[in-house]
Symmetry: D2
Subunit: 337 residues, 4 copies
């Protein structure tokens, strides 16, 4: 931590700040400039956070030198974390495609979609049984019934399953049926939920919040890691900006930035990021070119009949085309699909 | 709902869309312009959401005519909702000030703060027992112990208490100790939690999410209302923007906009919106001038020793000054403080 | 400037950075922490900007200690700048209301509006002769003809005039007709234009850019001051955020923040900030409560016939009501209107 | 245009609105729903803009059906615009790389950089002679001297030149020396400047403003087209969001969206979008995978000595690596580099 003191600070005030620094078990290094005094704090300054120092009288600004996340950082663990689900490696060299409907709407719809995505090359099946919806009047998913269909699809087509939990109570049920538990964007800072999934050992697919900074995203992952679960997959899914043409704005540079800051796998959800199916393919190719370890994509056999997110669900033919093109771009960057 | 069809659409395609409209129990009104065909849907188009129509082949855009929230709307209930807590009316003509520390840090700190804010004119005591924190390494509150101190402060100083719940499990405990349950900004779209507090009859102080649109904010309130709890207080607490000088950007116009769209009380949290104590007073005055029904403000007897949010907590003397000035501005707009 | 060096940096690399610091005429103060080395630069580090230090090998981050603006800062000039236009003081204790139509549309419309706003209490007349429009197909103003009507209105009603310049060529003409020259939000970083108006001595009303940080806004003012013109009035007019209900989001806390950082007058334009006339009054009252030195408001005798910005123009009766309420709130904060 | 009328509107009010519609030369199509009346306007509703209708009494909302830009749209011209500069085709199948220093700092620096980028595969040389800088104290470019060095570099290495104009006065000089004129992000809505470059026939590289919506970006292009110059190259260069880790947020989906909405070439500037050289390569590959027609990249022989933007300038070796990888990804998407 570095403290920038207020202009015209007196020697007594500086002395009082120095005492606080020593009380915190840190060593102060003072530099007196022409206009300002700055103090570098040596020692493990994670003990007192930036907020604390900002509240100290005479301190104008406090600048963190160390990153606030530790277990998630590359400095803590330099090699990539590879998470294996039924033999499928996420975070390894191969690009993994997860696909399926936004919501499980019924047995037929799910089995049909599972067959399509399996045939065209998806490795993992997505599908929501518990659906967070902005309006209380929208379809909220089939719940446990949906979980059973997911399990049936898994057994029939050999596709491991990723599905969302919205609350602590659902964790147990979902854990029995799913291979990967998703934490949705709106729950990225539901810290109680993060702690609980951190106590399981299930792989967690953590979506970036709509307005989460990269650092906050990694601190949300840190919650899970800190509670003992090392299996976290990060998912960039678009952030909220002033642009309204697309549903959100995919932060493509978050992919290489995250890959540099953390050892955890990073995938992209182009469907929620863009919201319009006709732009899913180019943005998916871009994600792999930027270094993503995988994709999670919405596909529906008949998007026009989808109970949620129909506008962003790919037609089966589009998904086929996506995979075909992904193989080429993946090949160009040394990442087989 | 109004559908704008794609350019160059054929008559057969229009016919197919018209069938879908009729299937949904709606009546289509078609207008053929020079370049586009538009169809107005007559009937209760809440049944099929915008998303559905966007996914229909041939539809370029779908525009909602009706607001997606109902129970929260002024059209549903034109007179103001006034929520009475221990005789204090929130949403009435009088401006209500809620104040106290960010977190309950101990018995002494809380009782001392309660006495200060009571003496200077606060009507309700705030204080966090369960604290959502961005980092797993930060102080997370005293939990149940904190709730007991809040109850003691309430009994001693006659101040009703508002405190946060972070998960469904905490609702029961918090309900026993608190008079108003707060849902924090990061949980504004924790729909499971909204549903559960909607099943209680406790007043709920619902904070706007960091990147929540006004419509989404009102839909979050709708979740609570829809589950049977009519006692919702809305709290504007700053939104996330590109500006980094302040912690967030207080959306001051949200106050009159919300007062116009909904019958629910609207208060402002200037502490989290701004994050810097020296700007809390002018922004608080602005909030009342704009029509807010109250404020929730952080005060700490010794902000420099606060375990969280010290930089934005008012000194007791500042709180005294705030109330003095609020009385004048409140008077000017016909709202006694 | 403070430099944070990369983890694991070698002594030779540090030495090479130290040489660069000395070359820049600065003195390095080195603090070696457990994990990082930081170097404080003592001397006038404005010579080499942050960008320079970021590009130096081994530097991970560079933090500015001094504010990048000087002439605009309170530290440079502690007392308020008061700009006098025809005897009207802007930035003094009295709140100044500027009002008029978005665009000068004709002689009748302008004279009629001028009479209305004068009668109800405006001190300065606004009206656009050169209009920046998002679309090339929109009404772009009457140009020089509009300037002449403004002058006529000024002479007839004794109202000084503020109007916009969009390019260097217009400065000479506008200077002859107007008392205050406006630089619009879209030109806030048109540095060539800032330099030229900086060479005049006319008061400049500088609007904040749609996505300008407070620091950038003050640096734009600094361009004008640096070129010799001390008469700059800052105008907060809403920033662009994700919220779409209002045209922009008024950054109300920018008012006290600016008043604290700079000695220049600060006014608010609620019309462009909100874009909907029914919310102009509460937001105007809030602006004065927050400490603004004035307002610039759009008024139109018949908003429905306005050639631009009709939706946000006040009806004459609303303007009358605004002034009446402003007087009360101004009184409450010790600022006569 | 579609008008949504206020709830509970009377028949007389509707009649009055209908008269206004007819006055505008349009035909009204009325649909009366259960709760609202909507009116579709048939005819060329570009004559009266959305703003006009919003200001009409009784109108709650007005929705544009037609895109506000015409000349820039795919509907106006379906085939791609290909702009040829010294035989190099921009907007054709081949990906064009423009590279060079942020600013021309001197003869040696420019010639050296030109040689490097030429050798590694750049087709066009970039370099700023007139530099827009946030602070008046920063290096503002060599001006005309810089233009001469650009011309010399062009002649020596056969690289056409792109450089920025900041004001109308510079257009003539820059036109003599440069092959492509750049309009910077901060001037994207400097409409006077857009009109003037629209009167030339020089290719214009138009950068997207920091907070410009896609529609506004295309309307800025429309200004140039409307003034007679059909040679506009659009450049996505990152938008301003809440994320501060990168300088801006590259809006990758803007690439396919623009390619779908307009016939104009679309290139990407990863240097300004990201601001950190270590992420330029993955983001550049992503841009080409997403369908961009080219890149404009900052390269400096010694970034640590750069007078501006050193932190985002590639080392020569990085540029070499970029081109090598671009060729592979370009090949994978059928776009030779």
């Amino acid at each position: 931590m570095i403290l920038i003191l207020k202009k015209g600070i007196s020697d007594e005030e500086i002395e009082s700040i120095v005492l606080k620094i020593k009380d915190a078990g840190l060593t102060p290094h003072i530099s007196k400039g022409n206009e300002r005094v700055i103090i570098g704090l040596v020692g493990d300054s994670r003990a007192k956070d930036r907020d604390y120092w900002l509240s100290v009288h005479g301190v104008e600004d406090a600048i963190r030198v160390l990153k606030p996340f530790k277990l998630a950082s590359r400095e803590f663990k330099s090699e990539n974390t590879v998470i294996t689900v039924d033999g499928i490696k996420i975070g390894g060299n191969e690009v993994v495609v997860m696909a399926g409907p936004c919501a499980v709407e019924g047995r037929e719809q799910l089995l049909q979609t599972a067959e399509i995505v399996k045939n065209y090359g998806a490795k993992i099946l997505r599908g929501g049984a518990f659906k967070p919806r902005t309006s209380p009047y929208s379809f909220k998913g089939l719940g446990k019934e949906g979980l059973m269909y997911l399990k049936e699809a898994k057994e029939k087509f050999g596709l491991p399953v990723v599905t969302e939990v919205m609350s602590i109570e659902q964790i147990e049920d979902v854990s029995q049926y799913a291979d990967i538990i998703q934490i949705g964007a709106r729950n990225m800072q539901n810290f109680s939920l993060l702690e609980e999934v951190g106590k399981t050992r299930k792989p967690i697919l953590l979506k970036r919040g709509l307005s989460a900074k990269i650092e906050e995203f990694l601190l949300a992952a840190e919650y899970i890691l800190f509670n003992g679960n090392p299996n976290v997959i990060l998912c960039e899914r678009g952030i909220r900006t002033f642009e309204t043409y697309t549903r959100n704005t995919l932060d493509i540079s978050a992919v290489p930035v995250l890959k540099s800051l953390t050892h955890l796998p990073v995938i992209v959800d182009p469907s929620h990021a863009i919201g319009l199916r006709d732009y899913i393919i180019p943005v998916s190719l871009a994600s792999i070119a930027a270094g993503a370890d995988g994709l999670i994509v919405e596909v529906h056999p008949e998007p026009e009949k989808a109970l949620s997110d129909g506008a962003q669900s790919l037609y089966p033919e589009q998904f086929k085309e996506l995979i075909k093109k992904l193989k080429k771009v993946g090949g160009a960057v040394g990442r087989p699909v």
